[in-house]
Each structure stands twice: as C-alpha cells, then as structure tokens.
C-alpha cells in the first residue's frame, strides 16, 4: 500500500475541520479543569473531615477509572436520570472533570511549596487570611504551577480522540470516517499523527520555556 499525496490533500479540509473541534474541546476542557481543580483543592483542605474525605474519595475514583468509560457514562447513562447534554458539552465536562483531579494535585503542590515562613511572616505583619492568599501565597504559588498545568493541557489534548466514542466529530473521528469510506487507513491516520506531533513538539518547546521561566513544583 503506497502513499497517495493527491488523496492526502483531498482529505485535508475534513481533517482540519476535525482539528478545530479538537482544539475547541481542549481549550474548554482546560478551563473547566482549572476551575474545578481549584474547587477540589480547596475542598480537600477543608477542616471539615466529611467534606475533605468525601472530596478525596471522589477525586481518587475519578482518577482511578478511564476517561473513556466516564465519557460513556456521562453521555449514555445520564440521560436516564434526566440530564441530556449535547455531545461536545458532555465531552468538555468529562475531560474537564477528569483533568480537574490532576489539576487539584498541582494546586495542592503549588500551595504547599510556598514555605511556612511566608505564612508566618504574613501573620507577623498582621495580614488577614484573604490578604495573605491574595498578596503573599498565590503570587508565589501560581507561577511554579504553570509548567505542570501546561503538561496536563498537552496530555488532555492527546486524549481528545476518546471523544469520538460520544459522537464528537474531532480529528480522530474525522480521520476514521475518511478511512472507513475510502478504505485507506494509512494516510488519514498518519496525518493525524503528524498533526498531533506538530502541536506536541511546539508545546514541548513552549513547555521548556515555561519551566525555565517559572521553575517547577515538586517532582
């Protein structure tokens, strides 16, 4: 089976349309993950045992089971409970929820990496709890988180093909569709590989830059 360039060019518009959906899903998923992750992190720090334990269990559960199965659940089972989400929305929520559990760990690491001395200095200069968070802790905690967060963003991007299981027409789904109707698998799949690789390589370069710029949290 040899490579057919004409065919490759003819399927590019369709693949690019899928690529656009992939990017949109990644971006929206990242926003959900960033916000929900912070919520998880804060709930896990709660003094109320019930709240922190329950959050812990939920986070562990989500982290311990495959995203694919969770997506099936959200898309195909939730309607039985009266919640019917459009495919892309379900995908964004599923990915966002899954990656929020990773993000919450990054938040935790970033906050814990701020030295105890900073909390104490804030107390000794009589700042309130809110002032301490806003002016002392978060400005120091967030920059070192950026590389780890960016890493998960990239990981999430690479997992978007799972969305084809819930009928989102992203890049991989488009490629499969093309492959199925043309019986040529190699060109579309290779182009998908190339697109992922291009984005990843660019991101890795960007990541290195972020790591140099902001340092790194933990291991």
């Amino acid at each position: 089976m040899e490579w057919d360039w004409d065919f490759t060019w003819s399927i590019m518009p369709q693949l690019l349309a899928g690529f656009r959906i992939t990017l949109v899903a990644t971006a929206l998923g990242a926003v959900v993950a960033a916000i929900l992750g912070l919520v998880f992190a804060i709930l896990r720090r709660s003094r109320n045992r019930l709240v922190s334990r329950t959050t812990g269990l939920v986070v562990e559960f989500i982290r311990g089971t495959p995203l694919l199965v969770q997506l099936y659940f959200i898309f195909y089972v939730l309607p039985d409970l009266g919640i019917r989400l459009p495919a892309l929305t379900a995908g964004v929520i599923g990915m966002g929820l899954h990656y929020a559990t990773y993000a919450s760990e990054v938040y935790r690491g970033g906050i814990e990496a701020v030295s105890r001395g900073q909390w104490e200095a804030a107390k000794a200069t009589n700042l309130t709890a809110r002032q301490t968070w806003v002016h002392v802790i978060l400005p120091q905690a967030i920059p070192p988180m950026i590389p780890a967060m960016a890493n998960y963003l990239l990981a999430m991007f690479k997992e978007t093909p799972l969305l084809s299981a819930i009928t989102v027409l992203e890049l991989m789904n488009q490629a499969k569709s093309v492959a199925n109707s043309s019986y040529r698998y190699v060109e579309p799949m290779t182009m998908v590989g190339v697109m992922f690789l291009v984005v990843s390589v660019i991101s890795v370069v960007g990541l290195r830059w972020l790591e140099r710029r902001y340092g790194r949290v933990g291991g």
């Binding site: 982290r63 089971t65 199965v69 991989m172 590989g193």
Partner: protein
C-alpha cells in the same frame, strides 16, 4: 437478555486481559524507564540524544497513534507482525516508559549533589556510586510517581479495543450490544477499574514503606 452471570463472566475475562496488559505493560515500562532515564544522564552524547528522541517522540504523540503504527504499519514493513497482545503491551510499555524515564532522571537528579561529592571523596567508581548510593536514595522518590504511571497505564488499556483485544471496556461494549443495557456493564467495569487502581495504590504504598524504612527524617 437475561443471562447476567454469563455476561459477567465475559467481563471478568476482559478483566483478565486488562490485568495482563497492565502487568506486562508495566514491566516493559519499568525496564524502558530505567534504560532511557539513565541514558539521558549518560556521559556519551549519542546515548543521551537517542534517549531524548525516544522520550520526546513517545510523550509527544498519542497512544492511539502509537498503537496504530505498531499494529498496522509495522507489519507492512515486513519486519515483524506482533500479535494484538504483543502490540498492546509494547505500545503501552513504550508510551508509559517514556514518562517513567523522566521520573527516573528527575529522581536521580533530586539526590543532592552532596551525595555524589561524598562518593568521590571516598573514591567510589561511577558504577559503585549509582549502585550503592544514588539509586537506593532515588528509588523512594520514584515510587509514588511510578504508582501514578501504573494507574495511567491501567486506564490506557481501554484503548487496545482499537486492535481487537478483548479487554474489559471492549467486553463491556459487547455485553451492552448483546443485552441492550448500558448501565449495568459500565457500572460493573467502573467498579472493577477502581478496585484495580486502588490495589495498585496500596501495593505502591506498601513498597514505599519498605524502601523508606530507616530513611525517615532525611526528606
């Protein structure tokens, strides 16, 4: 419809495949992680370069694409036609191994420089340094992340259905289309996945306790 115990057996057979993939994949990943991780720290530039290329390639492209290449494209070259199990184990092992390699490198570099210098001062050779001083201290740093990697690998096994391996997710799909029930098979496998990932966490924690014995107060 009906025969639930029969279909449950089907899912359990899938679970066996999932466990097998996870165990073998982790074994491959572990070996590869050490080879590539140490390779990145090699004094020989060519070895370093090779290790870096491997790591970046496998972290940069998605597991779907890697699996596809190993299973469909590799046989076309006439070199080797892996069975689905071999292809699955190889793809999972190489993919997760690339992440593990960075963990190995990070942990080794996290051993304080002081320790290398003490080794030189008592005149240990390069190999003796690694074997007796650096690795025993780096191992406890690697373990928690290795545990997370193993869980990632477990979750990634669900993608092997792409190449007709009847893993747990795949069998759940089969049961779903044969019985018409979505809820039951998916709840079953969610529980099973969570049980498996919890088992991995517990095992890793037990290992951690073993290797950190006597190291308390160091970190």
């Amino acid at each position: 419809m009906g025969d639930w115990s029969g279909y449950l057996t089907l899912i359990l057979e899938g679970a066996r495949t999932t466990v097998l993939l996870t165990v073998l994949g982790s074994a491959v990943a572990l070996v590869v992680a050490f080879v590539a991780g140490l390779g990145r720290l090699s004094p020989v530039a060519a070895v370093r370069w090779l290790a870096t290329a491997y790591i970046e390639f496998f972290r940069g492209t998605s597991i779907f694409v890697q699996l596809f290449w190993i299973y469909f494209v590799l046989p076309m070259t006439g070199l080797w036609a892996p069975t689905p199990m071999q292809a699955g184990v190889l793809a999972l092992g190489l993919n997760v191994g690339a992440y593990g390699a960075e963990v190995v490198r990070g942990a080794i570099q996290a051993v304080p420089r002081d320790q290398y210098e003490a080794c030189i001062a008592v005149n240990l050779t390069r190999f003796q340094r690694m074997r007796h001083v650096i690795l025993p201290q780096a191992l406890p740093l690697m373990l928690p992340t290795f545990g997370n990697n193993a869980i990632e690998l477990l979750k990634a096994t669900s993608v092997v259905s792409l190449i007709s391996l009847a893993d747990m997710t795949f069998q759940a799909q089969v049961v779903r289309s044969q019985t018409g029930s979505t809820l039951v098979p998916f709840v079953t496998i969610l529980v099973l996945y969570f049980a498996m990932s919890s088992l991995i966490s517990l095992a890793i924690r037990a290992c951690e306790r073993r290797v950190t014995r006597g190291l308390d107060g160091v970190r």
